[in-house]
């Protein structure tokens, strides 16, 4: 006897529906767009405790240091807050960890003991371009043009990360959080992410394996964290400015205001 959603179904129908579940789980990953500032869960690869095996689990994007005790403190930490005296304290979203500083700040312990990989099939960055307004003068605020960046030969690739378990003392639950490591932008990414000139640390297979499985020295950790994927391995697609709201977010668009990219 087989039941699906509370209804009695034939075995054949049950098998079809269970197969469909697998299909849509895969589709979910294909179409999902994760935005860092939503602090949502994201599928991440890490070493399974007590074994050399890799496991894929959901973690919250936005590294949380252990000293934070509640969600209210997390909110203030990430978004900033005004104290009783009216002084503003900046927030620290901790979505990205700078590779060069990885061993000198709150990420050190995680870099030594809790490294992870973030599987991706593409990420987004915005090119800032000074444009001429209707008056014929350059506008003060640059316009932002989004790009989808993918790896030419790898539909899925791995970005280096570090993770940190955080305990919510109010609910007594443990939340795994992570930060994505960024390195100096290559020549392609310098043109696109021209406001910060950074890009994710995208690791080839051997380095991804070492990042997750090997007992690395400080220098080896920094060497891998600073790894810079080559421009020639990447492809960048300009997208509509409102791509996140579109039915097909990855529809390519040509902007006349944007200089042509040089893959050097």
């Amino acid at each position: 006897m087989c039941y699906y959603n509370g209804r009695k179904v034939t075995r054949t129908e049950y098998i079809r529906l269970k197969e469909l579940e697998k299909t849509v789980a895969f589709l979910n990953e294909e179409i999902a767009i994760f935005k860092g500032f939503d602090f949502n869960d994201f599928p991440v690869l890490r070493l399974k405790a007590g074994s050399g095996e890799t496991e894929r689990i959901d973690m919250e994007w936005g590294f949380l240091p252990p000293y934070l005790k509640s969600r209210e403190e997390v909110k203030r930490f990430r978004s900033g807050y005004k104290d009783a005296g009216g002084k503003w304290h900046n927030g620290y979203p901790c979505l990205n960890a700078t590779s060069e500083e990885l061993l000198n700040n709150i990420y050190r312990d995680a870099a030594l003991h809790r490294r992870c990989l973030i599987p991706s099939n593409g990420f987004y960055e915005w090119m800032h371009v000074q444009v001429v307004g209707k008056s014929g003068k350059l506008l003060k605020t640059p316009e932002k043009f989004p790009y989808l960046i993918q790896m030419k030969d790898h539909e899925e690739f791995y970005m280096a990360g570090v993770w940190q378990p955080w305990i919510d003392t109010e609910t007594k639950t443990t939340v795994n959080t992570f930060s994505l490591i960024t390195t100096v932008a290559n020549t392609l990414m310098k043109q696109i992410h021209n406001s910060k000139e950074r890009m994710p640390t995208i690791l080839p297979g051997d380095l991804a394996d070492a990042w997750l499985h090997k007992d690395l020295s400080d220098q080896e950790i920094l060497d891998i964290a600073n790894y810079q994927a080559a421009s020639a391995e990447m492809k960048a697609t300009p997208l509509h400015k409102d791509f996140l709201k579109r039915e097909n977010p990855h529809e390519q668009v040509i902007y006349k205001e944007v200089p042509e990219l040089v893959y050097g």
């Binding site: 959603n5 509370g6 209804r7 079809r16």
Partner: protein, 82 residues
């Protein structure tokens, strides 16, 4: 009779909101994906052992039955009126 047109997109409404719905087919199963802001709901028409058809979310979630029933009805109407 349902059309075999795949990947067509049409609108569904629920509680005064309009949501896009895409018809898909994989491995012989026809199903629909409804986009709710940043999340997706998958629906398919299933057949009970007594032969009656019913709409279900995939994966099954009885908490969504009301929503699934409403959206399924609209998909049936859409297919009928094509």
């Amino acid at each position: 009779m349902e059309s075999n047109t795949l990947n067509e997109v049409f609108a569904l409404t629920f509680k005064e909101g309009a949501y896009s719905c895409k018809r898909l087919e994989k491995n012989g199963s026809i199903f629909y994906v409804v986009k709710f802001n940043s999340s997706y709901l998958y629906l398919t028409k299933a057949f009970a052992q007594d032969g009656g058809a019913f709409w279900t979310s995939v994966p099954a979630d009885t908490k969504l039955n009301h929503l699934v029933f409403e959206l399924g009805k609209q998909i049936d109407n859409y297919n009928k009126n094509k």
